[in-house]
Point group: C2
């Protein structure tokens, strides 16, 4: 498998998507980015649970069994000695013209597999962050859901790329830090972790859930889910972000502030590696 | 041509979209819904201008000539005795994994043509509206742009359909009326039209532009672009909405309030018909 992903639609290898498709037309669908390491989907249950929750929000029919089946089919043909980023994309399929979904949608399950070259079990060097001028929109009806409407992050990532930052901090409309373009945000203050509440925007990440439910409790750390401020963030002992592919990555620099030590992030990353091996 | 649309990608008839495509992955693109009547694209310049503006917002390369060329190719094969809804979809094409766009994107131009059965030159009967529980998100960076991230309208249209309304009024996060799911909103008070400002959300519709720049001046009406309130709307002499396919449609009922007469909307519709014939 080269750089180009291998793609399956509804269980069959495919290079093209039948049109029309509401995923393309309106972003009417969801996705998951999943780490496959040693022939195993990391934190699979977190991904499947989030997907089910998103399907309910968008009023898709339930399709847990279908997703699991297609995942099994794909996993069966992947090379166990290679690590992959799997992307599971669910769309509401074809429909007549217009925004209203068909009453009995023929949902499509698209899975693509891209080989990963880096080592997911090694923590990356601290990241240098800038603050994006693109802020998350305020939309409580879709907050937390990993749906296909991702232009805000695309625009912020474009800015990140042009500026040469490793990642871009994204604020909400009121200026409170929420996340980076591809990952949730945590700050460490003493024995407490604080991560942004996601009531108005953002994505409820699987690694965020890991830190809250497993990593922090294992290390005896408290977690607060709250509205952050940039001042708080800059005054924190440590800052890190997390996503399915990098795991946890410390922030070394943000808006002129530098952090040289990341002991809490390092300990959490060790918990995370144990989880991936479990 | 049956109910299923005829589709062209980059000038070639196609039934499927090459994958990966960032339009599907992130809604990274734009679209236009265009009325073709008597072998002619209605208000073509308004559509092309809006598209160019959206391309600039998303930092796509300019492609006015390509869009015009592909439109000409499609128009050449359509039946002049049939009316169509054309959808022009522009995506940032394929790219490597992740939100950041490729530096030299291979943009795709997808055009689909669906036959229209109704008569675009006849004003529809007054619509019965409900108020959607789905509100527009607040996102100044994308307000006005007709991009592919349309889940808010999909969810509101789903609610509309379930409730049996002709259309659903969509408010902004503060509760101010903005639009319906597929159309801009105007209220008439005496000799003044008021339509929602689109600084934080909504789509800058081509028929909204027609009313502001041509219809209202032709009839000697003033236009205010302002923040509306539901109370104002319910106290208005008339309310109507507009989009490329229905033109202007009066509102007959909203939240218990009924309007029996729509003289201003009818006069504007006659201006609009003259425009389509011009």
């Amino acid at each position: 498998m080269s750089d180009a992903p291998a793609i399956w639609i509804d269980g069959r290898e495919a290079a093209t998507l039948p049109l029309p498709d509401r995923g393309l037309e309106f972003g009417d669908g969801l996705f998951e980015t999943v780490l496959v390491i040693g022939g195993r989907i990391s934190l699979k249950n977190f991904h499947v649970t989030r997907l089910q929750s998103g399907l309910a929000t968008l009023q898709f029919p339930p399709l847990r069994d279908r997703v699991e089946q297609h995942l099994d089919e794909v996993m069966a043909v992947l090379d166990r000695n290679v690590n992959y980023a799997l992307r599971i994309t669910i769309t509401r399929g074809s429909g007549p013209r217009g925004y209203a979904p068909p009453k009995a949608p023929q949902v499509r399950v698209i899975i693509s597999a891209t080989q990963i070259t880096g080592d997911p079990l090694t923590m990356l060097a601290p990241a240098s962050l800038g603050v994006s001028r693109i802020r998350w929109g305020t939309q409580p009806a879709l907050a937390g859901v990993k749906h296909l409407n991702r232009l805000e992050q695309v625009m912020a990532a474009q800015e990140r790329q042009a500026a040469g930052w490793d990642e871009a901090l994204m604020l909400d409309q009121a200026g409170a830090p929420v996340s980076v373009t591809a990952g949730n945000l945590f700050m460490v203050s003493g024995e407490t972790l604080v991560t942004a509440a996601l009531e108005d925007c953002g994505i409820a990440g699987t690694r965020r859930r890991f830190v809250i439910e497993r990593g922090a409790p294992d290390l005896g750390l408290q977690v607060q889910v709250a509205t952050l401020s940039l001042d708080q963030l800059l005054a924190a002992d440590e800052v890190f972000y997390c996503n399915a592919l990098v795991g946890l990555r410390p922030v070394g620099e943000l808006a002129g502030k530098r952090w040289s030590d990341q002991p809490v992030c390092s300990r959490l990353f060790q918990c995370y590696v144990q989880e991936l091996h479990a």
